[in-house]
């Protein structure tokens, strides 16, 4: 069934990216890079796992005629939208707070934000 393969593909992509994000969170040297890896990759990955769910829902709707599928897809899309809306803002706030609280980037070559502020 093509729907199943699509779903598995989406889930696989999502899992991979989430895993990459988490590995980045673990392995990167300072807050900013960790933040980069964690937020970007996990948001992306979560979108893809949720897309798998949406695909499942539409497949259910069109192939099996299950009317609950539409609700599921709609709610999932709302959840993804919330993630997309909130995650980057949270990341931004953390990065700013980390900078302001004096956490330094690890191999400190140049700090543009500090220069701009000055």
């Amino acid at each position: 069934m093509w729907a199943d393969y699509l779903i598995w593909t989406f889930l696989g992509i999502g899992l991979t990216f989430n895993g990459l994000g988490v590995i980045g969170l673990l392995r990167f040297p300072d807050v900013y890079t960790r933040l980069h890896a964690a937020t970007k990759a996990t948001t992306f990955g979560s979108i893809f796992t949720s897309l798998g769910v949406v695909t499942y829902a539409f497949a259910n709707l069109y192939l099996n005629g299950n009317s609950g599928g539409l609700t599921l897809a709609l709610h999932t899309i709302v959840a993804i939208a919330c993630l997309i809306l909130t995650n980057p803002v949270g990341a931004h706030a953390i990065a700013r707070a980390a900078h302001r609280s004096g956490t330094l980037p690890h191999p400190r070559v140049v700090d543009k934000l500090e220069e701009v502020k000055r």
Binding site: C82, V89, H92, A93
Partner: protein, 155 residues
């Protein structure tokens, strides 16, 4: 006051949280959720506003007295809704299966759910939602106010 990005997003998300909280409250008898959960969601919206914007502005927008009044009114609505049933007994569900508003009959078993059912439950959900929203919101505001005051005194 946080950065402009956060503020913009907060002012947008606040409406969203409000709508979603109201959805949770109103669908309390059909889907997971209900008065407490919806009220807590809306109160978190207040917490979001309180953290994202300058506190002096927040103080101007959201008055503690209004929240306390909302709390009291919600509780009184809840109590009086329960009290109306005292013809039979306190907390009697006098609207259920009566055919009036919220009084539609449901048959046992699987159904997609209709908003117009469950008697006094939606009313109580709404009342408790208002109460919890007021209560938790006012707790956050009290604490913020106190923290600000302490810091002003220290400086």
């Amino acid at each position: 006051m946080m950065s402009k990005i956060v503020r913009t997003q907060a002012s947008f998300l606040y409406t969203f949280i409000l709508i979603f909280g109201f959805y949770i409250v109103a669908h309390g008898h059909l889907t997971p959720g209900g008065g407490f959960q919806g009220g807590a969601v809306i109160a978190t919206g207040i917490a979001l506003i309180a953290v994202a914007f300058n506190f002096s502005n927040v103080k101007r927008w959201i008055k503690k007295t209004h929240l306390t009044a909302a709390e009291g009114i919600g509780l009184l609505t809840f109590l009086i809704t329960a009290l109306i049933g005292i013809g039979t007994s306190f907390f009697y569900n006098w609207l259920a299966n009566s055919g009036l508003i919220f009084g539609q009959r449901v048959s046992y078993g699987v159904n997609p759910g209709y908003l117009n059912t469950a008697g006094t439950l939606p009313v109580m959900n709404l009342a408790v939602g208002i109460e919890v929203f007021g209560g938790l919101g006012v707790i956050i505001l009290y604490m913020l106010n106190y923290v600000k005051e302490v810091r002003n005194d220290a400086s």
